[in-house]
């Protein structure tokens, strides 16, 4: 037995995990690290299921060049030759790297060094552009550096906690649980959630401001105006530590930002808005947590700036329980920012357009070719690929064909690009499908390095598994290419530790306190010390920044830059009457390449969906679960509609996770416009005008197979992998016959059991090869076949079961039961069980936990448990109040 401390590879909370590897059993257990400052032993549902995701079935284990397996030597030479050839023909600006917040800091550092320092272009951007670049830009503009001022503890210490643009209960569950615990300990602590949707997070709120889509900027502009007119303005702080305040006041006064008109613009009740403003005025310990709802906007930098201003004018920054707090989405978005992995950064929080910084980095890296001008940001980068200005792109650890806005343009751009190199740990993704060269990267559990979380803690991610196949760490792959390009002298790394020391040394190089990011003290770590490095917050030993009121602007003062709130650049109209919002769901991560391997995580939300208010559904003649066609000016998706009363009428919501591997047409970013914030270049993923119409379908089907098989032609399908079986649900309107299906699957099965219907309203097939059941298919008109997935998994290889029983797809007689919706993933507890427990007297989450175990592991489902408790209680009180409700309604 061997226990290794590492960090979870999902969100930006950066929870520590303790991984136990047994010497003589393949079983690997992943638990929360009690000693890690971020989580103190807690893990969310995704982190708890990490052990399920370590299989090799979907892994890329060998390099491939032009579709053929290749040796490393061949593949690396191919990359180097094609890169050199492209530079020769089109110059260094025809090269681009598109990297990821999933890379470790060391990988990131080497990628950035190679392209900016030696290839000589700053065309490196990262998926953090889609996530954090607005916060980065606002921080730099206002604070002078990309610094998150506070720490997680501030969220617990606050008397007023504002959560804006974040469904933390699902996206950052462990920080959310720390807040829940703090609120339980101090019920007087007030929580305000600003979100156009009712979410698991808003369940906790004392005040939920369900604002109109895209109106955040008016809300914070109104707050600033309200503060400026209030006695809470911190004149001394403003005088000593800020600049340009007078202009801020003057401009604010010129705008119509009185409470009434703001409430109107935001679609809010004036009273509620006033309450929020009053709470902010009278609560010194205020923390504003902001995330994608603020960042992913065409005026994100302005609204994030306004949040910073509200804290600056009240002096609420750098104090315990008082700060603005940007919470990041990815495990190492912060590390990427530290090494300068964005196209408009240089390295170590230095700027490309600062000649001092340019000279400093050139000297440190000993290069003459350091890029002199900012490179292309993500959206522009892929546009340049489409237009042939970029001819060579190297994509690492990310899936832009799914995650970029106007994703079909990105797909088409890559299809037509001369050279597409993809480093990934997964064989089949929407992006690897377009690669000319595929390089097998090490995955979580194998690679080793550091990541930085949202509160500036640098933690070691440690490998505990051998590198499988030919997989290699990203830093090794990049360094090998660098050597073949003739830059061996600058890339002679033997380990991640070598790189980390160099990175730390650069952060300290001629710093002398002029730059916020300085981890020079770690540059002397020897390999053993690096290996043993405990989670370390920067600046070293400092929880909070700006406590001294000193900022990293030239003047040392925070800057009030002018901000002009404007309406959204797009509007809904008759053709596209609904606002589409996008985001994560509780149990999935990004494009599901990892979480999709965990059966338990695949049971919470099982298909791509669009959430819609019942009134909007009625208007379109939609029933819950109907497949619908969602269209924007850029693309189309087919997903299932879900009735959500928590969704404002006129607004819809889709998740970001599904892709062309897992569904017929559910890449939500094919719909989203590539409209970006003009400063940060971050796309506005939260507001796209769309239309929704019912997809004409006549039949519904379920396909189960023991390996991946061709999917029959269907207007809609989505697939999941559960305990060794592939489950695909389908719907369509052109009827199918058994002959077509048997032909489609003739490679997989040759012996068939079938159900046929004279009216072609139902069809079932079981296909076997010589040994075992391979395919199970059920189709019918009207509604989806009723299938018990767990039963099928348990009985797939059950020799005693007749084909007829197997074909039914669920237990007969007393075993049959209605399962409902999965609520607790850790203990696999469904809503039906919970409703029964509530009916039987469980009246709070702890009672439910004792009765059913739900919510007793990671706690991610506790908001949903509360919602269930409330809904059952509501139903009860309704019936108590109206014993004759039914009769009354008949009158």
């Amino acid at each position: 037995m061997n226990t290794v401390d590492s960090v979870c590879p999902y969100c930006g909370v950066g929870c520590g995990v303790s991984v136990t590897v047994s010497d003589n059993s393949p079983e690997i257990t992943v638990k929360g690290d009690d000693a890690h400052p971020a989580n103190a032993g807690r893990l969310c549902v995704k982190g708890s299921a990490l052990g399920d995701t370590l299989g090799l079935s979907t892994r890329l284990l060998q390099p491939r060049v032009d579709g053929l397996q290749a040796s490393w030597d061949h593949a690396l030479s191919a990359v180097a030759h094609r890169l050199q050839d492209t530079i020769k023909k089109y110059g260094p600006d025809s090269i681009a790297f598109y990297v990821s917040g999933q890379l470790l800091t060391e990988d990131y550092y080497v990628a950035n060094k190679l392209i900016k320092g030696f290839i000589g272009t700053a065309n490196i951007d990262t998926n953090s552009r889609l996530c954090m670049s607005t916060a980065v830009a606002a921080h730099k503009r206002v604070l002078g550096s990309d610094t998150v001022p506070g720490c997680y503890e501030d969220l617990e210490l606050a008397d007023l906690l504002i959560i804006t643009g974040s469904n933390m209960a699902w996206t950052h569950p462990v920080v959310y649980q720390r807040i829940v615990a703090a609120k339980q300990a101090r019920p007087q602590m007030k929580i305000v959630v600003i979100d156009p949707r009712q979410t698991a997070t808003s369940e906790l709120a004392d005040l939920h401001l369900q604002i109109a889509p895209g109106s955040d900027i008016f809300l914070f502009d109104g707050l600033l105006a309200h503060l400026l007119a209030s006695p809470v303005v911190d004149d001394a702080f403003i005088r000593d530590h800020t600049e340009n305040f007078a202009e801020l006041v003057m401009q604010s006064r010129q705008r119509d930002n009185a409470v009434d008109s703001v409430a109107d613009q935001c679609g809010l009740d004036t009273g509620l808005l006033r309450t929020f403003y009053q709470w902010f005025v009278r609560t010194a310990k205020t923390v504003t947590v902001f995330s994608q709802g603020i960042n992913q906007s065409s005026q994100g930098v302005n609204q994030a700036s306004l949040i910073l201003y509200c804290h600056l004018v009240t002096g609420r920054i750098g104090k315990p329980g008082a700060c603005p707090f940007s919470i990041t989405g990815q495990p190492n978005a912060m590390g990427g920012r530290e090494v300068g992995g964005l196209a408009n950064q240089l390295a170590a929080h230095m700027d490309l357009d600062d000649p001092t910084h340019h000279a400093l980095v050139s000297e440190f890296w000993q290069t003459q070719d350091l890029a002199a001008k900012p490179g292309l940001k993500a959206v522009d980068m892929f546009r340049a690929v489409a237009e042939g200005r970029i001819r060579f792109i190297w994509i690492m650890a990310t899936n832009p064909v799914v995650s970029m806005p106007e994703a079909n343009l990105v797909r088409d751009a890559l299809k037509n690009c001369d050279h597409v190199v993809v480093s990934d740990c997964v064989t089949d993704t929407d992006t690897t499908r377009l690669a000319h060269v595929l390089l097998p990267a090490a995955a979580w559990g194998e690679k080793s390095g550091t990541v930085t979380n949202s509160e500036r803690y640098i933690s070691r991610q440690r490998g505990f598994l051998p590198l499988p196949g030919a997989a290699q760490p990203d830093w090794w792959i990049i360094s090998q290419v660098a050597r073949r390009l003739g830059f061996a002298h600058a890339f002679e790394y033997e380990s991640a530790a070598d790189i980390f020391r160099e990175h730390a040394a650069l952060s300290a190089f001629r710093n002398g306190g002029s730059r916020d990011f300085d981890i020079g003290a770690l540059a002397q770590l020897d390999n053993a010390q690096y290996e043993a490095l405990a989670p370390t917050q920067w600046p070293l030993g400092q929880q909070r920044m700006f406590s001294d009121g000193r900022f990293f602007t030239p003047s040392g003062r925070a800057r009030f830059m002018p901000v002009q709130p404007t309406p959204l650049k797009q509007a809904t109209d008759a053709d596209y009457p609904l606002w589409l919002n996008t985001g994560r769901i509780r149990d999935q991560w990004h494009t599901m390449t990892r979480t999709g391997l965990s059966s338990s995580l695949q049971k919470h939300i099982t298909e791509p969906f669009i959430d819609m208010h019942p009134a909007d559904m009625q208007l379109r003649g939609l029933q819950n679960t109907d497949p619908v066609l969602v269209s924007s000016r850029h693309g189309q998706c087919v997903v299932r509609v879900r009735e959500q009363r928590g969704q404002a009428a006129g607004s819809v919501f889709m998740s970001i996770h599904w892709n062309d591997i897992s569904a017929s047409a559910a890449r939500v970013d094919t719909l989203v416009s590539a409209i970006c914030d003009p400063i940060s270049g971050q796309p506005a993923f939260k507001q796209t005008p769309v239309s929704v119409v019912k997809l004409p379908v006549s039949w519904h089907a379920v396909l189960v197979s023991s390996r991946q098989v061709p999917v029959p032609e269907a207007g809609y399908w989505s697939a999941r992998y559960l305990d060794g079986l592939y489950f695909t649900v389908l719907a369509g309107d052109r009827p199918m016959g058994t002959v077509v299906l048997k032909t489609l699957w003739s490679d997989v099965a040759s012996r068939w059991t079938e159900l046929e219907d004279s009216h072609e309203e139902s069809l079932r097939l079981i296909g076997r090869d010589a040994n075992a059941v391979q395919i199970w298919f059920a189709m019918q008109t009207g509604s989806s076949p009723d299938v018990d997935e767990d039963w099928l998994i348990d009985n797939w290889h059950q020799p005693g079961l007749s084909s007829r029983e197997l074909m039914l797809g669920r237990p007969t007689g007393s075993q049959a039961r209605v399962k409902g919706t999965l609520i607790c993933t850790c203990h696999q507890v469904y809503d039906t069980t919970l409703r029964t427990a509530i009916e039987e007297g469980c009246n709070d989450t702890s009672a439910l936990g004792r009765a059913t175990r739900a919510g007793t592991n990671c706690g991610s489902c506790i908001p949903e448990l509360n919602k269930l408790l409330n809904s059952v209680a509501l139903k009860k009180s309704d019936t108590n109040r109206h014993p004759n409700a039914e009769e009354e309604s008949l009158c």
Binding site: R751, W752, T753, E754, L755, E756, D757, S758, H759, E761, S762, R764, A778, Q780, P785, D786, S802, S803, R804, E805, M807, L808, T812, G813, A816
Partner: protein, 430 residues
């Protein structure tokens, strides 16, 4: 002094008569002076068990419906082996072959049916047997067990239930057996063509040759001109045989009724209370027909026995003009069929006449769902008429046959779904 009991004469002593006497004993014990006269030498026995008997899976002790003691204790006068040859309905008098006369106040005809015979040349040769009575069965078994010249090759003419049961029995006893059938598949009256194919391949697997759409030409005698030696087919093929079982259906035994001037079409016409056109004369079982429907299966005949017992009791108590309106008449019912062959599970229920005109699933209007597993030899098909199940055919796996029987009989709406076909036990019915 009590008035004398009404005299009830029952002519025919097969299963219908046997069942009727049981019903009367239960409903109206001691109310009648009963005489029953049968042609066969045994009192009523379970004719259904003749096939298992032939297959060696049953024995004669299991056959009788009631013991001699029971008839005695009920005061029933039993005459066997003495067929009634003549009825005088005016005088209400029956005369038997032995010359005895029996008068009645009420007469029940339960004369059953005879095996039909094909009018082929050579049909009277020795070795051509219809399997109808216990004597027939004994005859067949004697020929198989004949020490000197045991039967080696058999031809069964007719691929219906009885013929197939006989064929399987013979084959299982080591007699090489062929079945010739004048339709496209076995049990075509009860099964659709696909179930028929499953059945035919099962027969083939047992070594039975099944010849469909067969034309029989003539029986060929052996050298001494007495015994059957072969059946010649329309195409000239000779099927060598020393035993022929004729199983081409039954003909109601109606000669007494016809000679007595009672209304007879194909069988003795009776109403739902089993009353013939002659007052005081009733008929039930295979010899009767109700609104054109004839009977060959035991379930409807047992229902008739129940109705008739009540009718007779009413007449005994209130005279022949008594009103019967409060007695529920016989009603038509679903007629499930099961083949009684070990290891061959076939079930059929519902409106079969209609089905025989349907090729599997061919009719555009008729909703049908089928499930097949060729590897395991399992098949089932359901037909709907409107919202209700009309018929069901099962082969191989007949676990749910009782459920389908009940669904068809009760005429409850059943959604045409995979559930109905694969797991009818789980159907939520109103």
């Amino acid at each position: 002094m009590p008035s004398p009991k009404p005299r009830l004469l029952v002519v025919g002593f097969g299963m219908a008569a046997g069942r009727l006497l049981q019903e009367i004993a239960q409903l109206a014990p001691g109310q009648f002076d009963i005489t029953v006269i049968g042609e066969e030498s045994q009192s009523a026995y379970n004719r259904i068990l003749l096939s298992p008997l032939l297959a060696g899976e049953s024995d004669t002790s299991l056959l009788p419906l009631q013991s001699a003691d029971w008839y005695r204790s009920q005061g029933i006068k039993v005459l066997t082996g003495d067929p009634v040859l003549e009825l005088d309905v005016e005088a209400r008098l029956a005369r038997t072959a032995s010359g005895s006369s029996h008068s009645w106040d009420m007469l029940v005809l339960a004369t059953g049916s005879r095996a039909a015979r094909l009018p082929l040349p050579g049909r009277d040769l020795d070795g051509i047997i219809s399997l109808r009575t216990l004597n027939d069965a004994n005859d067949v078994m004697a020929r198989m067990d004949d020490a000197r010249q045991p039967a080696r090759n058999a031809v069964v003419v007719g691929g219906g239930v009885l013929g197939l049961e006989a064929a399987c029995a013979l084959q299982s006893r080591g007699v090489s057996t062929s079945v010739v059938h004048n339709a496209g598949w076995p049990m075509n009256r009860q099964l659709d063509s696909e179930a028929g194919e499953f059945l035919a391949s099962t027969l083939a697997a047992r070594g039975i040759r099944f010849i469909s759409d067969a034309q029989c030409e003539r029986f060929v005698a052996n050298q001494d001109g007495q015994r059957v030696a072969a059946l010649q087919m329309g195409d000239g093929e000779l099927l060598p045989c020393d035993l022929v079982i004729m199983a081409v259906g039954i003909a109601p035994e109606v000669s007494l009724a016809r000679e007595s001037g009672m209304a007879v079409s194909r069988a003795i016409a009776v109403d739902g209370w089993l009353r013939s056109s002659t007052p005081g004369v009733f008929a039930l079982g295979e010899c009767c027909e109700i609104e054109g429907e004839q009977f060959g299966l035991v379930a409807p005949i047992y229902q008739q026995a129940q109705v008739l017992a009540a009718v007779l009791q009413r007449h005994a108590e209130s005279g022949l003009n008594a009103s019967l309106t409060d007695i529920a008449p016989y009603t038509r019912q679903a007629l499930p069929t099961r083949l009684k062959v070990s290891g061959v599970h076939v079930f059929s229920a519902g409106d079969l006449d209609d089905l025989s005109s349907l090729a599997s699933g061919a009719s555009a209007s008729k909703r049908t769902l089928a499930w097949r597993d060729k590897e395991r030899g399992e098949y089932r098909r359901l037909w709907w008429q409107g919202e209700c199940l009309q018929a069901a055919v099962m082969f191989g796996d007949v676990d749910d046959s009782g459920i389908y029987e009940s669904l068809i009989e009760r005429r409850v709406p059943v959604t045409a779904s995979a559930q109905a076909l694969l797991n009818p036990a789980g159907l939520a019915l109103s």
